[in-house]
Amino acid sequence: MMKLHAKTLFCLTFIVGLLVALPAFGASGSTLEGGFKLIPALILIAMIVLFITIGFMNKAEGTSDYYAAGRSISSFGSGMAIASNWMSAASFLGMAAIMYGSGYHGLSYVVGWTGGYVLLLVLMASQVRRFGKYTATDFIGDRYYSNGMRLATAIIAICISFSYCVGQFGGIGIMFKWILGINYTWSVIIGASVVLTYTLVSGMLGVTKNQQIQYVILIIAFLIPAFVLTFKFDYFWLIPPIGYGQVVSDIVAGTTTPYISSLGHPMATVPTPEFAMPWDPATGKDFFQWMATCFALMIGTAGLPHVIQKFYVVPKPSDARWSVTWGLFFICILYWTAPLYSAFGKILSSNPEVGALAKDAIVVYTAQLGSVHPLIVGFLAAGAVAAAFSTVSGLLVAGSSAFSHDIYFGVFNPQATGEQQMRMVKLATVVMAIGVAGVSLLKLGLIAQLVAVAFSLAGCTMFPLFLVGIWWTRSNRAGGIASLTVGSTISLVVIAYFIAGKYGVSFPGKDFMNYWLNPWYFAWIAGPLAVLANVVVSLMTAPPPVEVQKHLAETVHGVK
């Protein structure tokens, strides 16, 4: 209790100190792009220092403490940690960006990323907790009684972390570009260096408790500008996620308001129904793409290793269920608000003089164009970077731990000491960060789209293995291998087509692949095919060992 009070006091002192000290720099940061912005830079540094300090105050004592926070977290706290873990650059920046650019199609991301939690809860949460392993890889290795499967899923988990990180690094690069006023390449390099240092310093700290505090700070950073924008422009400001509805209708019908943007343009727009109408031809997205994206993101959400892993941090299976419910609620607070930024951004940037804006920074640009106080804009931008930092840090640690624990220790050097493994974790973290930074420099897509690749990958590899593995005892190792082979082969083909397309190489059937098996949503068919492969091959081969079935029936499903 005393520890909690000390933390609360520390946070309050930090916030009050920030509010008292920063008005001195209130004049800076008033242009959309350009020079170095002192306030956001200071807030960002303060935020990172705060997170590291809190991490040290909750330092993990051992393996169990590190991976699963000693199984001492309440469902409320775990829900907050799930939300913080989830609130990455894709949520903070990417969702508004995709709605700003693609209108209603962007809502498939909002619905997909939240609707997946229903699947996760009803089909998997408490069952995974009862199975009793620390990581998703361990679950699959044990359920399919195969070290080969353990190794393969460890590699896939690393690939998922990698592609998830690419989008995050893109977000970090864009925000560093905005804060430091330098070009994107240098922004990514500097941002990657900072996030790598942050990960190496904070990676082994008390992740779950730290994430609860991160959530509170990040959601405040995201909500304050929403209240300010709705209040300032005379919309219903008491509940901004409802208040911006009229903004959407104004964009559809066209509007002229008495307000002007920070750049001196009238806050007005010509009728733009394509912003809100479903699968509008003007957005280049159709009905199938909406449905496929939504479904792929849903099953991807339910198959992400770092999300599933969160269920092990709660004391009881019922807490696993409630932690999903709380987690979804906390996530929705952000997701209800994100479209507000795209709507205000659309109307405030409609004057041609504004020119083309980087879509992924539209959240921050909107606050700037709406003349929100530079302090609040700085807090918002710093929050975006901090959101990406916390997610990247967790993913880099998860990826490098999988490499060190499941590949290096599990396959190549089973005699490795703890110290050697730790050295390997650090080396893998550095290698992975450099690789991710290199790929993110290629600017392969919007943040949300790049992260969606990770979801599709998880949706056609991990999700089918968990789903069938939990709910069908007859599923065996051969079925699991077939499922993984189908999912990963389709993933590889899709990614090969995507990369080839980016470099102007044209493979046969390119148009077919780009439409039906697009990298942002290929799991819509690859996931069900992987399930089918598991079922068919399992039925054609011998049942799994009795002890595997017994564990599943008695421990996971309570059949005595």
Binding site: T114, V122, T269, P278, W336, P352, V556
Partner: protein, 235 residues
């Protein structure tokens, strides 16, 4: 299946009372979830109708006359405003040379003879400063009192010198179809809390529904667990 029957778990063939109840709750939850997400969007797709904007109706009336050379000055001005509004829709259209060329040609036709050469010279200067903001152009287009369209004028033209511009460029009908026809129904046209209804449904209601499904599921399944003596406090 020899020797393993007692441990058999199959989602579609639950064999204990607890599993039957659990699967029933899961199926109800997933059915509500699927119908509300995918069912609603399928419904929207089924009942939607191509709905043109007012500008498209103007285009349909005037464009054939313009092609035939029979459009009046007033009709040309109306069509020019449609082109101008389109340019205001997006950055992509602000960079669309066919549309801007069409508007430039149309504006040239609308100007009185004494102003045509000045306009031509002004568009030539666009190469260097990319802006053209002339009161007589606003007047010719009838947008001098329209704060939104007036703001588009400086960005709406291309250089005329040496270019072959046409108000009826072959790309224009495609642009009109793509940007001025939307798929609408009563679900998109009705309003709730200021939102177009379908937008509210996806952006606000569905998220609330997911929370509700999770909440109800947790309460119900906790009760089922208790009833069947599962998940004791010590577990």
């Amino acid at each position: 299946m020899e020797g393993t029957t007692n441990y058999s778990i199959n989602f579609f063939k639950p064999r204990t009372a607890f599993l039957k109840e659990n699967v029933r709750i899961i199926l109800i939850s997933i059915t509500i979830w699927a119908v509300c997400v995918f069912g609603f969007h399928i419904l929207m797709k089924v009942i939607e109708k191509p709905t043109p904007e007012a500008g498209y109706l103007t285009y349909e009336q005037v464009y054939p006359k313009l092609s035939a050379g029979t459009a009046s000055a007033q009709e040309k001005a109306e069509l020019a405003r449609v082109y101008l509004a389109l340019i205001g829709k997006s950055i992509a259209l602000q960079n669309n040379s066919a549309l801007k060329g069409g508007l430039t040609a149309l504006t040239y036709e609308l100007l009185p003879p004494g102003e045509k050469e000045a306009f031509k010279a002004a568009t030539t200067a666009l190469v260097s400063d990319h802006k053209l903001d002339l009161a007589y152009v606003q007047r010719a287009l009838g947008v001098e009192n329209d704060i939104v369209l007036k703001g588009m004028v400086p960005f709406a033209f291309v250089p005329m010198e040496g270019a072959s511009l046409s108000a009826t460029a072959p790309e224009i009908p495609g642009i009109m179809d793509k940007y001025l026809i939307h798929y609408q129904s009563f679900l998109t046209d009705s309003k709730l809390f200021g939102f177009p209804f379908h937008y509210f449904y996806s952006a606000v209601f569905l998220l609330a529904l997911f929370n509700l499904i999770c909440l109800v599921y947790c309460y119900v399944i906790d009760g089922v667990m208790k009833k069947h003596g599962m998940e004791s406090e010590n577990e």
